[in-house]
């Protein structure tokens, strides 16, 4: 059974039209991550939640926002998608760790197309 579920698997939006991607988990992990992965590139961390504490990466554009209403769910909002935002968006979860020893569990991703 899938433990990190991302919906939808494929999303098409128009240039400038806000879009929301969702992620849910059944692992009860307190850390949730959002990554952006462009074609033939490594995943790039956008931000993560440590419980309710939001940690934004310094180079994440303001166009990207996130919400975590509870432990199980996390959302990625792209306020005004541009053509350069077309990518696979990956959600991951892990237990909290003070020494970097954790395993991240990834969802299957949402592939976003911007027309």
């Amino acid at each position: 059974d899938a433990m990190v579920i991302q919906n939808p698997r494929y999303q098409v939006t128009q240039f400038g039209k806000p879009v929301t991607l969702s992620c849910s988990q059944t692992l009860n992990h307190n850390v949730m991550y959002w990554y952006q992965q462009k074609s033939s590139q490594a995943p790039k961390l956008l931000f993560h939640y440590y419980d309710k504490d939001f940690n934004n990466e310094a180079d994440t554009p303001d166009n990207f926002q996130s919400r975590r209403p509870n432990t199980s769910f996390c959302f990625l909002d792209i306020r005004s998608p541009g053509l350069g935002d077309a990518a696979m968006y990956l959600c991951a979860t892990s237990r909290a760790s003070l020494n970097g020893k954790n395993i991240q569990y990834f969802g299957a991703g949402t592939r976003l197309s911007v027309l």
């Binding site: 490594a42 940690n55 990956l90 020893k101 991240q104």
Partner: protein
Amino acid sequence: LAKTTQPISMDSYEGQEVNITCSHNNIATNDYITWYQQFPSQGPRFIIQGYKTKVTNEVASLFIPADRKSSTLSLPRVSLSDTAVYYCLVGVPTTSGTYKYIFGTGTRLKVLA
């Protein structure tokens, strides 16, 4: 900020052992090194994790030298189904006390019959 680099691609034949190295020259003292496998249109999947020396599980081994500036993922007797992209992932401490995770550049492994 840790920089993690890997060879872009590797080819191997079925049944051979494959070794993929990741360089992480700025890894922090307490960072663990984790390796993931990714198939097309799927999320990365955990393979193995280690801190130092050697770690082995049912699918792979991980070798980490004493200076921890690199690590080598070893896949014994690969099969066609091991064709995928392999990433190392290194955690870097942030000023807020959490960890920022940096993926390596990824190695595309192609296993030939």
